[in-house]
Symmetry: C2
Subunit: 241 residues, 2 copies
């Protein structure tokens, strides 16, 4: 059975302007790989409703799972929840259970649940809340889309809440051989090996550092014995030194 596929939608001008370097994509990629879910596409769009809605509709139609990050806070540029409701063609309003979570949190803090904070209780109709143990304001899941915060600590906690509920395939195993030869010397024998082991994926990732160059060749697959067999052949083709 092939692994389920997933896409990620990162929402945020701060990444596209170069102000912030995204960390959530790299985190999610690793978690999905371990869970046997194949992350096959990521899109990063700016805080514009039409960009968010159209990317979301394209991704949710083409993948088993979609995770979004960013744009669910209390400020005027936090428009993700409204865009998700629009993409699904459902209503959105403050929901009692989300409001109760926020009310209890701000009561404990002695802060007011003002109009801005109450925006974080706006949940599209039919969605399920995602627990936020870090800062309480929830994410939500609707259809195959899981809407999470952009702050990395919160994003990671939300991924931990949702991941056990997603059906994964066999985890993708990988082994790497660091080969201190130019990719141009590796390429021919590697292509032949990839053709022979066509149930596995072979990637070649060149490096150049301090005058030394070569490539990390990565073999990936779900059958550990096959990956081992390919690595043995690879090591024989390219002995060290």
């Amino acid at each position: 059975m092939p692994s389920p596929t997933a896409a990620m939608l990162v929402i945020g001008d701060e990444i596209l302007s170069g102000r912030t370097r995204d960390a959530n994509m790299h985190f999610l990629a690793g978690e999905f790989t371990r869970h046997g879910i194949d992350l096959t596409e990521v899109r990063i769009v700016s805080d514009k409703p039409e960009a968010i809605v159209s990317a979301l509709n394209a991704l949710r139609a083409g993948h088993d799972y979609v995770v979004t990050s960013g744009g669910i806070g209390p400020t005027h540029d936090d428009i993700t929840a409204d865009c998700v409701a629009q993409a699904f063609g459902v209503g959105i309003d403050v929901r009692d259970d989300a409001r109760a979570l926020l009310q209890a949190h701000y009561d404990r803090q002695g802060a007011e649940l003002n109009a801005a904070r109450l925006r974080m209780a706006r949940i599209p109709d039919g969605a399920r809340l995602i627990d936020n143990p870090v800062s309480v304001a929830p994410g939500f899941s609707i259809g195959n889309v899981h809407v999470m915060a952009g702050v990395p600590a919160v994003f990671q906690a939300m991924v931990a809440s949702v991941l056990p509920t997603l059906t994964g395939g066999a985890p993708l195993l990988s082994q790497t051989l660091r080969i201190q030869r130019g990719e141009g010397d590796i390429a021919g024998p590697l292509a032949a090996l990839a053709q022979e082991f066509d149930d596995l994926q072979f990637g070649s990732y060149p490096y150049q550092k301090d005058g030394v160059y070569g490539a990390n060749v990565v073999v990936r697959g779900t059958d550990g014995a096959r990956v081992d067999a390919a690595m043995t052949r690879l090591a024989a083709l390219f002995p060290p030194g």
Copy 2:
């Protein structure tokens, strides 16, 4: 005059599997911002021809400029050049000027220009070469698409070659105020200020670290005097301490 818009297409399984953390997007975002080009979308796709071709065609139709990174080396998983030719509906073959660059390079190194390395001289018909001062194998530009290597040092050198040839708008200026208050307290006054200065963009980026929380509020615009004026008002709204 509005700034030209750009998109980036990152090609590579190694980023989607979580093996490598992309660095090129963050670099390009910063360079484009300084050059007055508005990076409005990034897509990351796997090494699959149909994914690359369809993303490229969507992005080049919707933006003034497109930059791609990755997949132009000598190994079997380097398929970007062929996909670009397919997307543009043009032929692709080894080109004499590109071959001459590689031949001279490998002659100097005492290495053979074998079949794998010669693949790096395959250039779509009608493209212009992009200089690669790091490792010689060229990138290329065709239409509004600029095809660059994925290795960060090479990518950065290629961006430096191409950027002066692209028409930019007025550089986007930004100033940041770090406000040690919850976003929920900032949101109301900030939204009102954003409405008043509707020629500027206001972003709020929360942080939480070591028990201290607050938000970095960023004001962006091309008119320095207006950004200054908005920052003065913002500082008055949220005095420190």
